[in-house]
Structures are given as C-alpha cells and as structure tokens.
Symmetry: C2
Subunit: 350 residues, 2 copies
C-alpha cells in the first residue's frame, strides 16, 4: 500500500535536533477534532505525566470526512507533534491511533497497513476505536474494565485482561442511544411539544427551553430543529434539562432517571458479556466515566446515579474519572503494551 501523502510532510525531521530518546505517539480522533500527544517511551509514571507536545487538527472519522482527508489529518497531526517535541520519525517506537469510525476489523487493518507504510517494522502500531483511548485514559493504559462515554453520543466499551472485548450502544440517535446528551435533550424537547398539544403533562421545561433558545412558542421548536439537525446542537440543551430537574420538575426528573437506566444498561451489558464481575459480581474492575453527561452537576449527578445502579449488580466495579485526556490514554495504551512485552507478558495487537 502506498503512502497517502507525499514525503514532504515528514521532511521536517531532517532539520530537527538529533535523536534524544524514543517517543510514543497517542492519537484521539473524535467527532469534532483530532488530538495527538507525544510522550517519552522510557518515562517513569510521574504526575503530571511528561507530555512532550500536543497538537490538534480537524475530524478524522473516515465515515464523516472520507478516507483521504482522514489520513491526511492523522499524518499532519502526528508530524506536527513530532516537530513540536523536536523529535524525528526515527525516534518513534510506538503509535496508537484511537479513532471514531473504527468499528470493524477491516477498518483497523486498513489503517494498520497505511501506518506501516509510514513507520518501519520495529515500530509497534495499535489502531482502536476512540472509546478504547478513553478507557486507557482512566486505567493508565491498561486494557481492562469498562468505559462509559456519554457526551453528545454514548457508548460502553470493555476489555478483559486476556484481550476479549465488547461494546454496547454507540449506534447513533436513529438506533436509540437515549442516554446520550442528544437523547436526553431530544426527549426534553419532545416533552415540551407534548405538553403544548395536550399529549403530555405540563412541565417547566417549556419555559426554560423557550427562554434558553429565545423562542416565543413551542410551535417554533419545529422550525428550530429543522434549521440545523446536528446532534451536538441538540445535546447542548442538556444543562436546561438538568436545571429543570433540579428545580423539582417531574417530567425532567423522569427523563434523567430514564437516561441513568439506559446508561447503566449499556455498562451492564458489556460487563455481563465479558464476565468482568466474576461469578458473584464482586470481582473488581475499573469503570471509567467520560463525557459531559457524567460530570457532576449541582445536585443532579447523572454519573453518580449510573455508578450506584451498576454497583448494585456489580459491587466490584470501581469508578474512575480520568485525570488525563483520551489522547494521553492512547499513548499510555501503547506504552503499557510495550512494557508488558518487555516483562514477557505479551499482548500484541500487531
């Protein structure tokens, strides 16, 4: 397979400082942007972690922007991270790309082939779904346990220590990701329409949503949703739902309780399929919580409610709120895999 872009993108290395030690590149490619970090391969586990450089580019989900543009974005963000860290391509000993849109082994293999054309055979390469980087950001690179992401969308993704994996949800709004920021906000808007046309109970969501959006009547919500159907725009209404629930509104509270049930059910499905909790459910495993839906609010803490719901069945689950971003998680995943290999405990993705 030929390299997608010309060699010029990587020529910067020729004018950089001489080899100062091996590095690892970690890339997190999400729905709206792509972040690359460069960390030293021989780093000790300090706090804060010694991130040598961090670069940001646009979306690299091949489903959204096409394969050519996705590759170009990924090459650029990596070459810029090396330039900024004053390292060469020959300093790289491992790369982990964790990108949204990697859903099948075929997506994974295509990206591995293309990476292999950039980096020589001794460089360890890892390609994963972006949810895997989020898990690794909580476990410091170890692929074990379950991550729950709930932002604009939602997904639960888990790994056993011996490399089996499972996921639940993450299929988008058409296919029912009701626990996501989009899902919660869409249900709240629906409740406003239902209260207005007589199908549902009165709710303070009506006034709160109209105030927030600067609209005069629930009629106008139809035009507002048609105007721009991006999921993020709907998901941005989440704080209005949380505030309405905190003020005691029953309709808003019911929506949030339902979303807790949905999110917990995603986690439980993954945990059950991977048997992470053991026979009695008490076996310990990390439950990494990521995304604005799961961040603590004033009183209504969706993340805490989800944890309570999961630990009823799986008391061994211990929640982790990551202190580092997913791109660092991706780098740590590669770091951890190399360290395990050196320890003789080999988990080779390629």
């Amino acid at each position: 397979m030929q390299r997608h872009t010309g060699r010029d993108m990587w020529d910067v290395e020729e004018c950089q400082s001489p080899r100062m030690g091996s590095v690892i590149l970690g890339v997190d490619g999400g729905a709206s942007n792509t972040v690359c970090v460069c960390i030293p391969a021989a780093m000790p586990f300090n706090d804060p972690l010694p991130v040598l450089s961090r670069t940001v580019a646009g979306c690299s989900n091949h489903n959204s922007v096409g394969e050519d543009r996705a590759r170009e974005t990924l090459e650029r963000v990596m070459s810029q991270a090396l330039l900024k860290a004053r390292r060469r391509r020959s300093n790289v000993c491992a790369v982990c790309l964790a990108v949204a849109g990697v859903n099948h082994p075929i997506d994974q293999q295509r990206m591995l082939d293309w990476l292999r054309d950039i980096f020589p055979s001794h460089v360890k390469l890892f390609v994963e779904n972006d949810a895997v980087a989020a898990l690794a950001s909580g476990t410091m690179g170890k692929l074990h346990g379950c991550v729950l992401i709930a932002g604009t969308g939602t997904i639960a993704y888990g790994f056993t220590s011996d490399g089996r994996e499972a996921r639940a949800a993450g299929a988008g709004p058409v296919l029912g990701d009701w626990g996501s920021g989009y899902g919660i906000s869409a249900q709240a808007l629906t409740a406003v329409v239902r209260a207005y046309d007589g199908r549902g109970p009165e709710t303070v969501l009506t006034n709160n949503m109209l105030d927030f959006l600067g609209l005069a009547s629930p009629d106008e919500l139809i035009g507002w949703t048609y105007e721009d159907q991006s999921w993020a725009r709907i998901a941005d209404l989440l704080p209005v739902v949380v505030e309405s629930a905190e003020s005691g509104d029953e309709v808003a509270n019911k929506i949030l309780h339902n979303s807790v049930g949905e999110l917990a059910s995603s986690v439980k499905a993954v945990v059950q399929r991977l048997d992470l909790g053991g026979e009695d459910g008490k076996h310990p495993f990390p439950l990494v919580m990521v995304g604005k839906v799961l961040e603590a609010n004033k009183r209504w803490d969706i993340g805490k409610e989800v944890i309570d719901c999961v630990t009823k069945n799986y008391p061994g689950a211990y929640p982790i709120h990551p202190k580092v971003e997913p791109a660092v998680g991706a780098a740590l995943l590669a770091w951890n895999a190399i360290a395990s290999e050196l320890d003789g405990d080999i988990r080779t993705v390629q």
Copy 2:
C-alpha cells in the same frame, strides 16, 4: 407584493377554449410531491367525482425547497391543471392550497398575499396545512372532525363546526413522532441493536431486517443508517415490522402496540381540546384515517387498533377511509365553503 414568476406561465389561457363554466383548483403539497386537481364549481356530488384534470409537480414545502421554488412549483402545477382542463384563469372561482410547512398564520398570510396577486378579488382563496386537505378528503370538504395521518411522519388535525382548530404531533422524529412509519421502523432497528449488544431480548426482527436489507450483521446497521438519513428510507421498513409481529414476535408486537397508543393519544388530544365528543364523549364526529401505517394489513391492523382505542373514550367517533386523494379534498374544501356561503352559512377564511 409582486408575483413571483413572469406572466408567461399564465399566457396559455389566451389560446384556450372560451369560458365553459367556473372551476375550482385544489392543491395538495406534501413532503415529496405536489398534486393539483381542477373540478367544476357547479358540480353535483356524483361518484366518481368529475375531476377535469390532475397535474403533479415536485415538493412545495417552503421549509424544504425554499420559498421561491415552492411558489414556482405551485404556480406551475396550477397553470398546467388549467391548461389540461382547457380552462382559463378567469374561469377560476376558488383555490385551496393545502401545503406541508404551513404551520403559522404568518405562513398562511404570505401565501394568501401571493395568491391574491395571481387571482382577482372575487376568487375565494384558502391556504391550509396539507393535513387539512386529508381531513376534507374524508368529509367531502366539510371542515369538521379529526384526521389522523400516519405515513413516513404522523399528525392529528381537527376542526369544530364553528372553525376552531387543533393539532397534535407532526413535529418530526427529533420531537418524538413515535407512531409514524419512521418511528416504528427506528424502534425496530433499535431493538435489533439492543438484542445484538445484550441490552434487549432476542427478536426475529434481527433476521428479518438483515434479510430485507441484505446485511450480514447488526454491526452493519450503523453504517447503513449513516449512509442516508432520509426518514422515508427508514419508514420503508414498516412491512418488516408488521410481518415480524404477525409471526408472533413479542418485541415487534410491543413496538406496534406502543405505536397504536401514540397515534390514539394524538387523536384524543385533538378531540379533547376541541370537545368534539361533547360532554359524554358520545357526540358523533368523523375520524378520517390516512396513510400507509393505517392501511389494513394481513392480520395486524394498526388503523383498526387505533380506532378501537379512540372509540373506548369517544364512542361517537366514526372512522372514514377516504375514497379520494387529498388534492380532491382541498378542492372540495373550497367547493364546500362556497356552497355554505351561498346557503347563507358563511365560513370565510379570506
């Protein structure tokens, strides 16, 4: 307000046959096309109705195609209907435009102003939401009772004899039209994903949907829905859901029962707000049923279930399955309004 298009579109009338009697134009502008019929103003109520001509054009919903294109389409479909009926613009005594996207008095007034620029002041003009034409297609033009439309989308729309009106649903999938063809099919696809990832029970919908779509695994549904997010494409899966329910599948049956509840709740909301059933709910009123979701299937008849559900609360509701299309309903609405006026029973829209 100036006419949108040039006079050339209407010049055909100059070369047509001389005046042969007054006519009425009825226009139904839906999500995918626009139909215009031309009927004689002085017609007796024969069966079949004497439709002089029928023409079809593209979408005329201003929200979808913009105002300029919507007007051009509406002018064209009307001028062609007159040409085909060998009538002139001066033969027109009434026009009823029933167009999707007319949701506010402001939409209505803008179109009335523009129509008035085409037709002289003695011509009676009516502008309504397309649901109103569907009601009129069942009541032979009388605006009384409730219509339930359930095709790709769904809406309930009702009128009292003295001109009060109300609607429920019709806000699109983001705002929760779950009883629609889109809503039913999206829930079925969601059930397939849930069964696959362990969040929901097994269902024959999985095999039936994958067979129908030519896909190998539920994984591939994510890509399939991203490919083309048009609502009609999802709604076209309705027969798969109905067949699955007819074969005894519990999940599919639950989805259809829920949709019956949703559709009946839209009707009941309208009937209650307009008090169509009177104090004891037994007052008779027409319940016009339109759209492929409500058409009788082999055993699972969604339309019949909805009627049963409505008549439990409102035994006076008498269901009507229209024999004529909505464009004829629009023409009959105008015909009926003129006839009422001549009878001294005036209901003037403009």
